[in-house]
Symmetry: C2
Subunit: 285 residues, 2 copies
């Protein structure tokens, strides 16, 4: 284990001890440690396999923190943690079958089935951004073609708008592109609100891709509730209503579906609520 990981563990340990002391919590009332981490996580073994931001490789983070604090520790990837938080205390409360999609720079997600986080073999489950939306479609950073992430993430939405502008499509967004040299996803949604036709076409493309993916997921994991999280959801109804519209237009007609679409409720607190709650849930098993 490289020094970097150990020193991070020590700093987390010190922070926990300070938190207990500051809040006058007895050590015996401190039950378990929950850690949320980006990257490829082996939750069952508590190992960070790889991350892109920190230089972690095969770091047994759960065991290291458990050894440091003398308490049981669990490790989970951050999208699953967010999903778990919304499941226990947010928009998916009471739903033992739930899907969470985080729409930001990329697309991540979590699946709850039978009241538990779906992990899959080799931690492959719920890497939802890389489900294929358009066979032989747009190139994705992962090496595949046509991933949902390559169409409906915030960066793909901005990229599709820029491509249309550079291709000569008329739009008020052209001014933004000329001034800033780029267009953000927020710019696109702001221009939908202002009635710009290209902006609407681009965000409709995003909504349609997400709706078609939700149709597939309804038939795959069968969620009661689909929760959206992440930067793009700040557009609120401008984000959510078109997804519902395209879902209703595209879904099968042989029976009526009761699935609900909602925005996440916990915001930045999801990480804290999710890790704490999951650590207690795992202890209870």
């Amino acid at each position: 284990v490289e020094l970097g990981a150990q020193s991070i563990v020590d700093r987390i340990g010190q922070a926990v001890e300070k938190l207990l002391k500051d809040n006058k919590i007895a050590y015996k009332d401190f039950i378990a440690v929950g850690i949320g981490s980006p990257g490829v996580i082996d939750a069952a073994r508590g190992i960070v396999m790889a991350t892109s931001n920190l230089k972690f490789e095969n770091v047994p983070l759960a065991k290291m923190l458990s050894d440091r604090l003398k308490k049981p520790a669990i490790l989970e990837n951050d999208a699953n943690i967010t999903c778990w938080a919304e499941h226990v205390a947010g928009a998916g409360k009471g739903c033992d079958e739930m899907l969470l999609l985080t729409i930001g720079t990329g697309i991540g997600g979590g699946i709850i089935t039978n009241g538990e986080i779906l992990h899959g073999f080799d931690c492959n489950g719920a890497e939802l951004g890389h489900a294929i939306y358009q066979p032989d479609g747009r190139k994705c950073g992962c090496g595949q073609k046509g991933c949902i992430e390559a169409y409906a993430s915030a960066s793909a939405t901005a990229a599709r708008a820029e491509e249309a502008l550079r291709g000569g499509t008329k739009s008020l967004l052209k001014k933004v592109l000329d001034e800033k040299g780029c267009v953000t996803c927020k710019d696109v949604f702001d221009h939908v609100a202002a009635g710009d036709a290209l902006a609407k076409e681009i965000t409709d493309g995003t909504a349609k891709a997400l709706a078609q993916f939700c149709i597939s997921m309804l038939h795959i994991s069968g969620p009661e509730c689909i929760v959206f999280f992440g930067g793009m959801t700040r557009a609120g109804d401008l984000f959510l209503n078109p997804i519902k519209k395209f879902f209703n237009e595209g879904i099968w007609t042989i029976k009526k579906e009761r699935v609900r679409f909602c925005l996440a409720m916990l915001g930045d607190d999801a990480g804290i609520i999710g890790t704490a709650s999951l650590a207690m849930h795992t202890q209870g098993k």
Copy 2:
């Protein structure tokens, strides 16, 4: 409850009693009843919600059989039963994360995650034939457009061949169409074996659709093993090898995947093995 269901239950009851007697099995050694059924099944409540072949609607089949035989009874849909059978005693033995695809007139499936059958809310899970392969694509009988079933089922494969022939594509299959008035999926695979170019193009289309769906499913439920079942799999390697080829060409490059592709092993016995084993498994919980 209509008379039809009660009389079927009575006949099953008599058949079970005869079986026990003929095989000299004491009634006390008969532990539980497992029932596999086509149609929309509420496995948790043991109810056949609807079927297309039998006129069953909201029939509490598990309770009726349990009352008749004085033993606990479970009910499960037939694709999930097949999946469970292959999980406990077939190609997916030892895999707690598994996907089964039944490729016949339609496409059905089952998902095992965390060692249990995935059901989803409202019995919506694992209706895999209606995941969308091609947005705005071929019409499916369910009312959606572009379902995987509308491309890669046996009937869709035959239909795509017929369309190409009627559109004037040259092929030895034209003779079959002219003589029989139709082409079957088996005809198409037989002509691949004989080196026919159109037949190869059509079955490659089927294999590519299945491979792309397997890529999506790898990122969704994360199976260790993907098992194919049903009529089309009789083509053996002619069926399976192109799926593997398209999967390997299309899958992401950021890590190497260990998922295995196999043909189902249990054939027609899957139903019997699956129901019996699932009834015992459920009793054990």
